[in-house]
Symmetry: D2
Subunit: 444 residues, 4 copies
């Protein structure tokens, strides 16, 4: 059975194509820097937004028109799996991601939930045999059910901690079963609403305990996927413990967990924390902690997570700049943790949205790659900081200076000359690269 | 004497040019929609940011390297005038704008201030005789001097109101003398910090009185420039009375002033108010109140007015879309109320920054114009709202329906079918237009 | 049958009481300024948050423990009515408010929905016969059902406009039937997500048409309740047309509707728009447009509507200051448009929360009343603005001055002397009033 | 000579006093929890805001009326020292803080600057001999002069790094000379405006080098004051490296500096970072890093640092709660890094503002202490988390559980029961404590 019978396989047709259901810029086989675009970008579809979500929001019911809408329970779960693999194939996307509860309904008991999961995981495994699409990561939903009202690993209720442990245990087993390349921890409700009723220290200590148990269990079952923490500053709780990359890093370091984790960085979470997307990527990169990316965008005038499909070419370019400087994403990928707007309720919009995101990241990749090839920022930065390559600057970076030697030097300095940062020109150059790189692409 | 002797006249050289001091996209003579780009865009240099400001900020002293830096008083004022006209000519820009205090130093008395102004205005007038550059608008600075600590026309001090009236009177006379096309009122400190010490009603009534007096005086001296109000939500005061276009409109309507004023809309003020730039332009446009534009950009992650040069091509495209749909700016212009970053302290950066802004608006114009020519949004919107062109919808817009007729109709309706808003596809199309329109431009 | 059998009637027991289920400061019969506190404050329970909502949020399912939880359909609707009147009585609250869909389930057709409503309205009417609790206002929910995905009166779909008209028609009939004192319009989805697919002018014109039809129909059926518009800047749509009071005022004035409407002002909507609660109240007050209040509070560090119960005594004091200066709320009231936190899921929390809100507004009333009695701000303001009571200031406010006379005056002024605004001292005094007024209350 | 001859020594006169220049709640000798209020609160005056600042802002010139206003250079510097000690004495405050450039003017060379500093430091030392007021901390201003345009220790210019090292070296010597109890590092311009021209890794590595050199030099000269880092998220740069406590902690840990530093936490910096003040205090406290406090408040609707005097009693109560739970501030203090509003320009306002702040923290202390004495939150939290004191919860916190044991437990669980968080009741209780504790205080 086909769920998207009126949609043909999406192909690269170039920017002149009038076919709205084609890639204009994303050309999977195109070689960039010795690598196929497909292998470099490692796109992934987020199961929850694309197959599970119905378009409801805090002020309204679901709007999404979906061919599986009439089904319920396990029938619905199975239909979604079928539809998902048809979708991956038509979009020609190499990865997908899911929470346990996206794929299988919760049962009346944990045991029943396990059984439901087992059936669906078996089905997914079967589909994967004949599909090129792999599991980038899975995770456990530990925020939707009322039991998680006060968090999961940071709940005030030990039963909830135990239940959550069982969920992640099962999640790791599924990860191993399906060959997941990573396993993600998003904090969900791991945070607080008011300090007046919160023991922050116990909660964070318990979170560290939980992570250590996960590391131990992965070792026990020989699951060798990368563990990823996904920072988010707030929502649903007022304060989430994994506020941003730096906060996550402080926590991991303090608990001897930094060797076992990297970060899964989401654009919209970055801006909710008051940072640019590229800032969070940079912080992770220079600390060797850039694991994977949730590729979406937010609206900076809006104070909640809008999870929009990424179409801002400045954002995709500057993000890909960080990723390329990182030598790529390694075992990570670009997962579209993005939802079609509530008003974009047609099935067709799912394709439009993913095409928009994939084309936008393809453009960003082409531009970022050319910026790096031409060393546009690198040369500017090399020149800007060159005072650290000789004399007193060299002594500083080689740890040969101290306050006494530096004072002696400073007392003999005349007026210090600085160099202009040229921010306006650099922004102009970025625009020129965006337009001209793509202009050349168009004529290929 | 030349202030910018190492800078040649900035010319259009196209996107392939390696000359950083050239326009890549702004081609003043290029015809768009029957009009020269120069006549359509009406660029203006902001005297204060470019010639008066020194780069100081709340945490630091001035950094700007300027060839007139060693001068003081009237000598400094005169040097700035000389430099400004050299700058306009080298940048080939048709307009400039100033506050009274940007061009001439305040004297010890109001009379002395008038004398200083008279000397400089005479000098400017002289320069204008041989320059193509006209005065887009002038205004009075009524916020820097300590006397305005509690506002000008909304001060609690009647003396300050009187003093401010004299300033605007002089400003209108200068406007007439120099042939200013508009006169601007930016609220400065017209607002409050705490309601606990504020009589908001008296302050707003006084503001209305002040505006009526200005209208009367302009009539008296036969100054026929357009009066413009520039909304800003906050900074320096916590709440500014001209919060945004809608707030300004409510005030003007309530005080019978809406016939005499339009709005000067600034991008960064829009975003500080929680709106997009294009939102403010749209609100003004559909109310027939779009007067002129302060062309800059803010950083939406930053809570103060950063007044950056406009380089975001989404913003320039969507702004130009509103402006072109408005039939252009009429007597208004695109004034670069923008400052080079504090770290961009070289004279050269002033040119880089203006080039960046002019190229960015040129690109925005080309893209917006093509979007309109192809009726990309128009066709979509026409189709989206077409239910109002027949049947019950037609009755509604022709004011022939009422709750009784509509209820009768509604009771017979089956399930209502809506149309997808296609936001993701529209964003994709916007990207494609941006890249492809400019790609074609490049080959011209 | 009793739904809250373990809860006794909440009584005023004073601040020393150890009974958590008692009023500590809200003493309904206490006379303030010649009026009973009960008559002055006009508290109202919001049906939706208290009886209909289940505690779900965008990341989680309902958590609320409610004695009617096991019921569905009309049985559930009826149980809620029963519970609601028990709640009003135990809380001794004079008003309630509801949306149509809060009280009765939507049927398969509009006709069925009417029938459900008729049954429930009849039942409510019956309860009201023996209850002191009156209907402060009702309204129509035009945002939850998918048909409103693009708005109601501003939908792109004429059928939705017609359907919405029928809903409001029915709402007005219910209002008349139940003796509602006001009828509220909250914009719901009357706004837009992207201008690229939006005809803002048509949408706003249609909104004006809709309001005129409502005014006409109220006249037709002789419903004489006050019409109220409730501003909100964003959420669920990115931009709501009734952004704030000023924006609403501009719209009403432009469409000759300002005679027929006042505003229902919500604290959390004010702060989402970047204003304080008291600012919005002041703007409405000085324009004669203060109708009613949605008494809640937001968290200014959070970018979405949290609808918390009001407990911030600064906010309740400054709000009550505006309300008392307005001569009270007239036909309006203080409606607790507030929800218990998702983690406060016990039935008991509903009582705790309302007690917290009622006590907080009682305190605010006592403090604000004393501030006004002592003319604390009034005297300060009178002195601060006294320059407008004589000489040039008097001429200004009596419209006898013009730019010529003011310039003549200003030219003869010496250095202008301003008066300190004393913000720090005023804040200190506010604290002192808060603590000392209540300290005296305690000893009564 | 007296600078404040019309101001008498500020004394505790209790809440009934009509004398605006008296403490109403701050009673230095009152014993709280075995300690004098004065010793517990350790108030400090910020030299820069109170004696150096002139009230200028980005849109206006200085407004402050000060008796030393007519002086310049070293005469001005000396007058300020004289005035400052008169101020400390009249306010009876035990500490003060300064940046080097607050107290002495910069010379033409570093050597001259040193000389100016030496003269003033000698003078301060002399005053300290007969004053009870001690130096809580000093620091070096490394952000005002243009040389710091790109930062100090993170400048791209090695000369600036060297110059900054000399400044801090001198600062540490002054600290030792004056017996400073702490030495503070606020990041000033240690951050970036755009990543396009920034080598974040080199900059942060250099910052770590700089801190290590400071630690070494302190050891060399046997200065044993506590080193403090003051986080701030942005302003003046778009991104400051010491964003918040967690970010600072990550940096210190990664660079083996956490043993040598604690944090100086400012309320307004916390809210600019999206946190409450008490959140930042809590994070520092549970990590053993709470050093000192910059006691002020911001306006959460405003996006820049307003540095207001602390008058919000919720904020002072919840801050003092953290501080008391920390066992006090140790070597730290409550430094009023706060400025009078630009409109509060009288000398008298300096006293009003400090009195407001001191009374507000006194109230906060009384309330927080009583909350702790009564174990209001402690008992609630103990009960809320009690599931971790026995059974599976005990095993978890004793590190005896693992995923296998927890799964076995979870599989046998029935429906999990959670406890209500009672946020509304807790907020009510907080109000009651605020009002009743102070009500009792009033009668003492």
């Amino acid at each position: 059975m086909s769920y998207f019978s009126n949609i043909n396989k999406i192909k690269f047709e170039g920017p002149k194509s009038k076919n709205v259901l084609s890639f204009k810029y994303y050309d999977p086989q195109r070689i960039i820097n010795g690598q196929k675009m497909e292998d470099l970008l490692r796109f992934s579809v987020a199961y929850w937004h694309t197959f599970t979500a119905d378009g409801s929001d805090p002020f309204g019911a679901g709007t999404m028109q979906r061919p599986w809408k009439h089904l319920t329970g396990m029938d619905l779960a199975k239909a979604r799996v079928e539809a998902s693999f048809e979708f991956y194939e038509k979009l020609d996307v190499p990865f997908f991601c899911f929470h346990d509860s996206d794929v299988a309904p919760e049962g009346n008991t944990l045991g029943e939930t396990y059984k439901n999961l087992d059936i669906i995981v078996e089905m997914i495994k079967d589909y994967m045999k004949t599909s090129k699409t792999k599991l980038l990561w899975n995770t456990a939903n530990m925020f939707t059910h009322p039991r998680y009202v006060n968090g999961a690993a940071t709940s005030n209720n030990a039963d909830v901690f135990a239940y959550s442990a069982a969920k992640v245990k099962k999640g790791l087993e599924i990860a191993k079963e399906l060959g997941a390349i990573n396993y993600v921890f998003w904090g969900g409700r791991e945070g607080y609403d008011t300090l007046m009723n919160t023991d922050m220290k116990l909660e964070q200590d318990n979170l560290a305990r939980f992570f250590h148990m996960a590391v131990d269990y992965a070792k026990e079952i020989e699951f060798d996927g990368q563990f990823l923490i996904e920072p988010k500053p707030k929502e649903p709780t007022k304060h989430q413990y994994d506020f941003d990359v730096a906060t996550g890093l402080a926590f991991l370091q303090a608990n001897n967990l930094d060797k076992h984790f990297k970060f899964n960085i989401e654009a919209n979470h970055a801006t909710l924390a008051g940072h640019t997307f590229e800032h969070e990527l940079r912080v992770a990169r220079i600390n060797g902690m850039l694991g994977s990316v949730d590729a979406n965008q937010g609206d900076k005038l809006i104070g909640w997570d809008t999870d929009e499909f990424p179409t801002d070419l400045y954002s995709t370019t500057l993000a890909m700049y960080e990723i390329l400087k990182n030598g790529g994403l390694g075992r990570g990928g670009l997962n579209f943790d993005a939802k079609v707007r509530r008003g974009s309720f047609d099935v067709e919009d799912l394709y439009h949205a993913h095409i928009a995101g994939m084309d936008s990241f393809a453009i960003g990749t082409l531009v970022a790659n050319k910026l790096i090839e031409d060393k546009v920022f690198e040369n500017f930065i090399e020149d800007r900081y060159n005072s650290f390559t000789y004399g007193i600057g060299k002594e500083i970076v080689e740890n040969k200076a101290n306050f006494n030697s530096l004072e002696a030097y400073a007392l003999n300095l005349g007026e210090i000359q600085n160099k202009s940062g040229r921010e306006e020109r650099l922004k102009s150059v970025l625009n020129q690269y965006l337009l001209e790189v793509i202009s050349e692409f168009a004529t290929v």
